[in-house]
Amino acid sequence: MASPPLDLARPRRRAGRRRGSLAGWKFVSPFMALFALVFLAPIGYSIYLSLYKTQLIGGTHFVGLQNYSDALKDSQFWTSFSRVALFLVIQVPIMLGLALFLALAIDSGRLYGAAFFRISVFMPYAVPAVVATLMWSFMYGTQFGLVRDIDKHFGVTLPDPLSPHLILASIGNIVTWEWVGYNMLILYSALRVVNPSLYEAAAIEGAGQWRIIWSIKLPALRPAIVIATIFSIIGSFQLFNEPSILKHLAPNAITTYYTPNYYAYSLSFDGQQFNYSATVAIIMGVVTMIIAYAVQLRGIRKAV
């Protein structure tokens, strides 16, 4: 152990190891710097903010977790939360179901003009959400929009898409229109990497198209569906653009606490309640994280 060559070798080896670990940090440092700047810093700052309260009269003081206990008792917060939860359980399955159907249709190879079809379904994704919502809002108008034109032309009275009980469905329609193509592309690309020999084997065994979909394509799609579901959950909880634009047309149907994000926005931009707004954002972030993670775990367990 104490022999001279080893003694010489040991410090050299140690130095080498240290240099190696430093080099590793250097490689990740651009990422870490960016990660700290755009990810950790805002979260840390929001958490810091959420522990204080600033009043128009009285200034800023430390309140500990009071904002959190207030938020958990805040009926407006829970109203907004249940609204996006409802949106999630209805809109996401419809959207992903459509995306799945379209992806399978394109992948089936039996579609005429598949490339054109693919790009045209994807196109709405390229339209900014703000523009898409404005466009739809013109159609939804019962006074001067497409709905009115249809009513007038056919002598019918369509239900008002901007009325309080239909507006969530109208928003769901816009979101589905925007995101079906995107999700279809995720699923379609997952289908493209399926080994063709599986299809050949299935054909030799005499399997029909439905059997191939059920036994080969759907299992191959499972991870992609999990990913698309997680993206959609995050998207639903963050619903903001669509309600904030439609509010101009339906000011009474869309409240300032219509979705959790819109609530956080109103709190800080209208009410100057930055601290409470940060609290709402953090709670929503944690809830989203938990639900996304649960879906993730479930997706993995099923795959095994």
Partner: protein, 454 residues
């Protein structure tokens, strides 16, 4: 493609990051009112000092949405070539206040001069975002402006803005549409107005006397005219009482009849559909501030020759009471590094040459001189069938009911109007109950913000 545990955590974590993005803009602040307090009250600035500042020159950033200011800025720069004014439209009304509050909180990007409506000024005064103009000798301007606007820019013994325009209310109506439905004289009382509203809508269900989807500014102005005083403010003690306010109940009872009869066009003011509705003759009138003519002329071009202006309908026959709707001031921001020059611009735009320029371009004056000038009063406009509309509007300015005040957090209160009182417009509650809910929500916010609520 298997997803590892670690990636799952990251995905979840990124959800958190994006959720926080919503507040990121808002939270880049909270330095907590670190505005420079370099201005002391006592120091008085003379006119000579202002002239010196003007000839020395400098850069000014002005946030305003009022269209006639463009010409004022151009003239100002011609007269004082060393001053460069950057006129920015940072949004109209509430949108601008949001941006302004954020800039003040962040401590950067604050303009030197901001366009602030009377109802919003107390909020900026309370947060010490605007400068007391007394130090520049603004108190000497007493008598220059009409009483309503001049009262609106004062608080706690200081002057926090110079009145730019005012909005005494009047009834703007499309005479062609009224005539078509057999209404030969515009309604003089609200009872007549309601009867006309029902008459028009019954004759043609696509036509309405006016639009309303619940508008805080309109509602408070109507209550103001009806003699209501739901708000009481004294320093940091505020009172909000719609439920027990006679003026409020008078308005709510009358307006409820129009809501119940679906006699109001469900189109929001300033929306695209609003302009279309007026252009198509589907929205027949507006009870609105005296600043409306220029917006009508630019927004509803096809209505030229059809519109007229009548006095605001009254709560009692033969009455002569009006209220203000909107109207705005220019204020100097505390964060401005060149307050003297900023004030010199304010004075130019609101009192000196600028006041006349703005009136010439269609603004409604807040200055006594312009309001009483024969040129102004006798001006005719083909858009209004050569009617001398300024006589009606100036008359309204002299009949504004005294004693009204807004809350020191009116900007916020107005933002939640549709959450509460707005329910009445979609059949969720009565207007009176909705206003009570608005009262409760306003009180809750006031208490939360440290006000003493009576």
């Amino acid at each position: 493609m298997t997803i590892t545990r670690r990636r799952g955590v990251l995905l979840g974590a990124s959800a958190l990051a994006v959720a926080l993005a919503a507040t990121a803009c808002g939270s880049s602040s909270s330095g907590g009112g670190k505005s420079s307090s370099g201005s002391s009250q006592a120091a008085s600035v003379s006119d000579a000092d202002l002239q010196a500042a003007l000839s020395a020159g400098g850069n000014l950033t002005v946030w305003a949405w009022e269209p006639t200011l463009k010409k004022v800025v151009a003239d100002f720069q011609t007269k004082y070539p060393k001053v460069h004014v950057n006129l920015v439209n940072a949004g109209t009304g509430n949108d601008e206040y949001k941006a302004l509050q954020n800039a003040v909180q962040a401590g950067k990007g604050v303009p030197d001069v901001a366009h602030i409506e009377y109802y919003a000024l107390p909020q900026f005064e309370l947060t010490k975002s605007v400068v007391n103009l007394d130090q520049f000798g603004a108190a000497a301007l007493n008598g220059t402006f009409t009483p309503g606007p001049w009262n609106s820019v004062q608080a706690d013994g200081g002057v926090y803005g110079l009145p730019m325009d005012s909005g005494p209310m009047a009834l703007f109506y499309n005479q062609t549409v009224f005539t078509k439905f057999g209404i030969t004289t515009p309604p003089a009382t609200w009872d007549e107005y309601i009867a006309d509203a029902k008459k028009i809508h019954a004759a043609d269900p696509s036509v309405y006397i006016t639009n309303d989807t619940g508008d805080a500014g309109f509602t408070t102005s109507m209550i103001w005219q009806a003699g209501g005083k739901p708000y009481s403010v004294s320093g940091t003690t505020v009172g909000v009482n719609f439920a027990g306010d006679a003026g409020t109940q008078k308005f709510a009872t009358a307006w409820q009849q129009l809501i119940d009869g679906h006699d109001l066009s469900p189109v929001s003011a300033w929306s695209d559909a609003w302009y279309q509705g007026m252009a198509a003759g589907k929205i027949a009138s507006l009870t609105i501030g005296a600043w409306m003519p220029s917006s009508l002329e630019s927004g509803v071009k096809s209505g030229s020759g059809q519109w007229r202006v009548a006095p605001m309908p009254q709560w009692t026959a033969g009455g002569k009471v009006t209220s203000e709707n909107g109207g705005s001031s220019l204020a100097v921001m505390k964060a401005s590094t060149n307050q003297k020059l900023a004030y010199a611009f304010l004075k130019y735009a609101t009192v000196d040459e600028g006041a006349q320029t703005r009136v010439d371009n269609g603004a409604f004056p807040a200055t006594v001189k312009q309001l009483n000038s024969p040129d102004f009063l006798n001006k005719t406009d083909p858009y209004f069938g050569d009617q001398k509309i300024n006589q009606v509007l100036a008359q309204s300015a002299s009949e504004v009911a005294p004693g009204w005040s807004y809350l020191p957090f009116q900007v916020y209160a107005n933002s939640i109007f549709n959450d509460t009182a707005g329910k009445a417009y979609i059949g969720g509650s009565s207007l009176a109950d909705g206003l009570k809910a608005w009262q409760d929500a306003s009180i809750k916010y006031g208490k939360d913000q440290g006000f003493t609520v009576k």
